[in-house]
């Protein structure tokens, strides 16, 4: 282990879907206290890149490293320190928000008592629907439950795919504040979004996915 400082880096990453190459030669290093905003049009490979970073899928070439170690060799540590929210919320419709948070924590090998779970949910403005099954919640509310479980995970690295989808104005502001607090506290975040997100004051770097030539051709 050459370095144990928390860094996420990827080297010469290439991603293909079937015959088509989405991107290649992607390099980046993200350190504590930084956020990475991934930009690119629809179908340019933003989600594919995020899935490569979570370790859910494997790159065609290149590698992703966490703390300087290749992902497949450190997956246990990595998955303990990383939290991911994709297009799907990953919450169970038949359980209440509290039960959902506690189930997620148990699966991750942590304990979370009811009061802690409740605090998180109230923090995200879900105080009124604590004991309703998630099935009856609105899309935005379910998104908030997923974000609450992100907070409960105490993860160092957040990987968020379109986190703003479905959130109202207050929700967006809430998430911006959470992200700022997370990054300023030394955490890391990788996110994609099409909506404007204001994270002034925090250390934000951006990365474009897909070649600009392709983008201009398409438009």
């Amino acid at each position: 282990m050459s370095e144990s400082v928390a860094t996420l880096s990827f080297h010469d990453l290439r991603c293909t879907r079937g015959e088509r190459e989405l991107f290649s030669g992607m390099n980046f290093t993200l350190q504590g206290g930084e956020a990475l905003l991934i930009q690119g049009g629809n179908g340019q490979g933003k989600t594919s890149l995020l899935r490569l970073l979570t370790g859910l899928s494997q790159p065609a070439e290149g590698e992703v490293r966490w703390r300087g170690v290749k992902l497949d060799k450190t997956s246990e540590t990595y998955h303990r320190e990383m939290a991911y929210i994709g297009h799907l919320n990953g919450i169970k419709d038949d359980l209440t928000p509290i039960e959902n948070l506690r189930l997620a924590s148990q699966l991750a090998g942590r304990t979370l008592n009811e009061t802690q779970a409740e605090e998180r949910l109230v923090q995200l403005g879900l105080g009124r629907c604590l004991d309703l099954p998630c099935r009856v919640l609105s899309f935005g509310q379910r998104r908030r439950v997923a974000l609450a479980s992100l907070l409960c995970s105490n993860a160092l690295l957040w990987i968020l795919d379109e986190p703003l989808t479905g959130l109202d104005v207050h929700g967006v502001a809430l998430l911006e504040n959470l992200l700022k607090a997370h990054i300023d506290g030394g955490g890391m975040a990788v996110l994609t979004t099409h909506q404007p997100i204001s994270l002034e004051g925090s250390n934000i770097r951006t990365l474009h996915v897909g070649s600009p030539a392709q983008t201009s051709l398409a438009s």
Binding site: R51, T54, G55, L56, S57, Q58, E76, T77, H79, R80, M82, A83, Y84, G86, H87, L88, N89, G90, I91, K92, D93, D94, L95, L103, A104, Q106, L107, A108, G109
Partner: protein, 209 residues
């Protein structure tokens, strides 16, 4: 770790088991000799079909709402996840089936000791079905028409279980002793327990990509 969440859902496969097994006496007629002859086989085939009915739901729901992704991203190894899923499947499908089976045995005029062997063979056999089934469910995850494909993939693998399971009961009735069949069944169980979770975990990783 993995709770049985929906109540009404898993009862369907139990009812299916009872219905299929009950159709045979009705169709063939109330002759105790014939019934005794076909009884073990019919109960076992119904058990196989009932397991197939409940399998597609094993992972599909988790796949659809994204919790499968989250589970794969927990620090636990995927093998444990696959094993847990099979165990959960067996608990909600296998155990109720075991409890109902003596009633079906009586329906087929099986003697008491044959019913005991039937239950024992189901006790050893149904976990095999759950383990093999989890492989099939993981392989066909997210495909269209996965139910049919799952059936085609998994049924051939179920054949040995069927042969030895029903064979055990037949042997017990013939008075030759069911031990050999049951020990072979046990051997299959140990083998699948060792191999199936790994294959299912690998299949899960491929399906989720």
């Amino acid at each position: 770790m993995l709770a049985a969440r929906r109540r009404g859902d898993w009862l369907t496969s139990q009812f299916f088991f009872v219905m299929v097994a009950s159709m045979f006496p009705l169709g063939i007629g109330p002759d105790p000799v014939t019934l005794k002859l076909i009884g073990p086989g019919v109960v076992w085939v119904s058990a196989l079909l009932a397991s197939l009915l409940s399998l597609p739901r094993l992972l599909a729901e988790d796949y659809r709402d994204g919790s499968l992704e989250q589970m794969l991203l927990t620090p636990q190894p995927p093998v444990l996840l696959a094993l847990g899923k099979s165990l959960a499947h067996w608990l909600i499908y296998g155990i109720p089936l075991l409890i109902i089976s003596p009633i079906l045995g009586i329906q087929f005029a099986l003697p008491a000791e044959a019913i005991a062997v039937l239950m024992l063979s189901l006790l050893i056999g149904t976990p095999i079905l759950s383990l093999l089934g989890s492989v099939g469910a993981a392989l066909t995850l997210g495909l269209r028409g996965s139910g049919v494909l799952l059936t085609l993939l998994i049924l051939p693998l179920y054949v040995p279980v069927l042969i030895f399971g029903a064979g055990a009961v037949d042997a017990a009735m013939a008075g030759t002793g069911a031990e050999s069949h049951l020990s072979l069944l046990g051997a299959i169980l140990v083998l699948t327990l060792l191999v199936a979770p790994w294959i299912a975990a690998a299949a899960l990783k491929v399906s989720i990509e």
